[in-house]
Symmetry: C2
Subunit: 120 residues, 2 copies
């Protein structure tokens, strides 16, 4: 099965450990041991996650035989950002609708407040 | 297994048919039959994809018994956009690096061009 690169990226991101690894790499390159530290996971389990990230082009690994530092590669994340941009007007619409609804609630509250004050 | 909502969203997006369905819904609500049309897929196969999208909160379906139109729900896509924002400075850096590299190549080309012209 050939998978398009955007599907591979999304599948790689569909895991909280893998997203946490990427978040850690924002602070700088790190070895597998360093990356494994915050997780209660074996090195082989972390290596498996790193392989998924590497296949998706989200990380690259140094060539030094012993210490193969992992580095964040942001290219596929740019593709994700570009893809989501097509839907921006939809989230903004949802936000506008929420905003309108909040204003409506506030207006109702004000009216109720006035009525209550008038009836006192 | 409990899955965090961002992982569920990314997993739902890791399929070209499901992304194509979302892209179709940008143009307006559609029935399952309408959504199935452009794909060489059975209705049950499309329904399966719709269930994944619905569970991820990416679509909602009308309550009309016969024609249950699907509607795009952009909330989870906003979460994806917000998540990718943390990495923006990385793609911009990569773009800057590419830009610098392109300028370097251009400068080299110019120098070569000049040398070639001088040697004529």
């Amino acid at each position: 099965m050939t998978t398009d690169h955007l599907s591979t990226t999304f599948a790689a991101l569909a895991d909280p450990t893998r997203r946490a690894i990427l978040a850690r790499l924002v602070a700088g390159d790190a070895s597998v041991t360093e990356l494994a530290e915050p997780f209660e996971m074996s090195l082989p389990a972390i290596s498996k996650h790193l392989n998924v990230l590497e296949r998706a082009g989200l990380i690259a690994r140094g060539r030094e035989a012993q210490w193969r530092p992992c580095r964040l590669e942001a290219g596929p994340l740019k593709d994700v950002a570009d893809w989501t941009e097509h839907y921006r007007r939809f989230f903004e619409q949802s936000f506008d609708r929420l905003h309108d609804y909040m204003r409506e609630l506030k207006d109702k509250e004000k009216k109720h407040g006035r009525k209550r004050n008038q009836s006192r």
